[in-house]
């Protein structure tokens, strides 16, 4: 057997490890496999720390914004200032909680006004690095499954691309591989809206002859069978003539760069977004969605 000189051992190891990973990539592409087991283990192990980290950073941000940024204004004597600082700290924490309560109240109102649509609130605990993804603190145990829609009261956020027992990953609408069935609110012209890896979305396949106005609302068409009709997607921000279709760029309705809480639509079947007056007619189709676990509901 040929002995490998010790100085070359690390090079051989490098080559072996690289080849192994290239093969792993090739297997994933060919079989469309996603190495789910490794991901489940990793996400399961890391997500509790992510939760703790997310809460810690949230506390730090609130304290920084409401306390440190304001403290230069105080000119009182030492005793009063100490008391004042302590009170400010308390206020900042209460403000943070109040802001969170406001956001949750908006989510709750939205849920109540769309009682026929099964949905669950979830907190954003992490972000992806290479693709535009976010990680939620709820997963399979809460009824969340792959391909479910994710929204906020402001508009569409994206869809679930992977669900783990206690966490799930959401592909944001701005990702290159993301898309939603949409239509222009005024003309009712239907066309998919997709991401480009940039803050603005793109609306494809609107003929040059169709009239589109800047600022016109874009809403979901329901044709993608993920999102119910009439949810806000965004507003028209740019229009250019193209060949053969217009090049329309859309500003997303939801603030995708600052998401903290979202709603996951607990159904994999087409849904109709019902108004308050006809919520009694709403019939969720997916059995699991119609009766999501009670513990999962916020």
């Amino acid at each position: 057997m040929v002995a490998i000189p010790s100085r070359h051992k690390s090079l051989v190891l490098l080559a072996g490890v690289i080849v192994l990973q290239v093969l792993m990539l090739a297997v994933q592409i060919k079989r469309d496999s996603e190495g789910r087991l490794i991901r489940v283990w990793t996400v399961g192990a890391v997500s509790p720390f992510e939760r703790a980290g997310s809460s810690g950073f949230g506390w730090f941000r609130t304290t920084w914004r409401h306390y440190f940024a304001l403290q230069n204004t105080t000119k009182e004597n030492e005793q009063i200032r100490r008391e004042n600082d302590a009170l400010k700290l308390q206020i900042s924490q209460l403000q943070g909680k109040a802001a969170e309560a406001d956001r949750l109240a908006v989510l709750l109102n939205f849920r109540q006004s769309h009682a026929g649509v099964p949905m669950i609130a979830a907190r954003v605990i992490g972000t992806g690095t290479a693709s535009l993804t976010i990680q939620l603190d709820r997963g399979e145990r809460d009824g969340i499954r792959k391909d479910m829609g994710v929204i906020t009261p402001d508009g569409v956020v994206g869809k679930v691309v992977e669900s783990y027992p206690n966490a799930s990953q959401v592909l944001l609408l701005t990702d290159k591989e993301s898309g939603v069935g949409a239509m222009l609110a005024d003309s009712r012209t239907q066309s998919p809206v997709g991401g480009q890896g940039e803050p603005l979305l793109v609306m494809k396949y609107v003929p040059n002859d169709d009239t589109v106005n800047l600022g016109e609302r874009v809403i979901t068409s329901g044709m993608d069978r993920i999102f119910p009709r009439d949810l806000p997607v965004g507003t028209v921000a740019e229009i250019k003539s193209g060949n053969p279709f217009k090049q329309i760029r859309i500003k997303p309705a939801a603030n995708l760069e600052r998401l903290e809480e979202v709603l996951v639509l607990l159904s994999l079947r087409p849904l109709e977004m019902k108004n308050e007056e006809n919520t009694g007619d709403a019939q969720p189709h997916a059995p699991g969605a119609a009766n999501p676990p009670q513990a999962a509901r916020r």
């Binding site: 051992k9 690390s10 090079l11 190891l13 490098l14 490890v17 690289i18 990973q21 290239v22 792993m24 990539l25 090739a26 994933q28 592409i29 996603e34 190495g35 789910r36 490794i38 991901r39 283990w41 990793t42 996400v43 890391v46 720390f49 992510e50 703790a52 980290g53 997310s54 810690g56 950073f57 949230g58 730090f60 941000r61 954003v124 605990i125 992490g126 972000t127 992806g128 690095t129 290479a130 693709s131 993804t133 976010i134 990680q135 691309v161 992977e162 990953q169 592909l171 990702d175 591989e177 760069e257 600052r258 998401l259 903290e260």
Partner: protein, 175 residues
């Protein structure tokens, strides 16, 4: 302290050992902070803390085999946490090579000076992005641009952060 060369001109590159569990804790913290920080501070997405940890331990341990294996583990963990759209191996390959290069260079040069750390981190960051683009283009048939201003800014920001992060990580060394 600079122990790179003695008065006879012979190189004496010091191999640093770390406290038990330091590498695991630092790696886990880097992955958690990388995922959680941009939720609250969106600009923090420009950082690649797992890469900085790979570079640091590569430069300090100065053993190419250890460096490349640590890079592979960190890279694969990052792949796993980046969602199913990122295939397992994308970060893995890039960080394996960076771990190998960092520990190979660390075994030949004094990498304790902040200026050296700044320059090396910036270079490794660009190389890491280059490897990612290469993998995407060749193995995944995805169109990615080689260079843009964002990459240049990100390299400088990461190198700047690395200078202070490495000083912090130096405290984990066993004397």
């Amino acid at each position: 302290m600079n122990d790179a060369f003695d008065i006879r001109g012979e190189s004496h590159i010091e191999v640093h050992k770390f406290r038990g569990g330091a590498i695991i804790v630092a790696t886990l913290l880097a992955l958690v902070i990388q995922a959680a920080l941009p939720v609250h501070f969106s600009k923090a997405a420009i950082l690649d803390l797992p890469l900085l940890v790979t570079i640091y331990f590569g430069l300090s341990r100065r053993n190419p085999s250890t460096g490349l294996l640590l890079g592979m583990v960190i890279g694969l963990l990052q792949d796993s946490l980046s969602g199913p759209r990122v295939p397992l191996g994308l970060y893995g390959i890039a960080k394996t090579i960076i771990g190998y290069l960092a520990s190979s260079i660390g075994a030949r040069l004094d990498t304790e000076h902040p200026a050296a750390r700044f320059a090396l981190t910036a270079a490794f960051f660009v190389a890491h992005q280059g490897l990612m683009v290469l993998t995407r283009r060749i193995l995944l048939a995805q169109q990615e641009s080689w260079f843009n201003v964002h990459l240049f800014v990100a390299a400088l920001v990461n190198a700047f952060v690395a200078v202070f992060l490495f000083l912090l990580l130096d405290r984990l060394r066993r004397n």
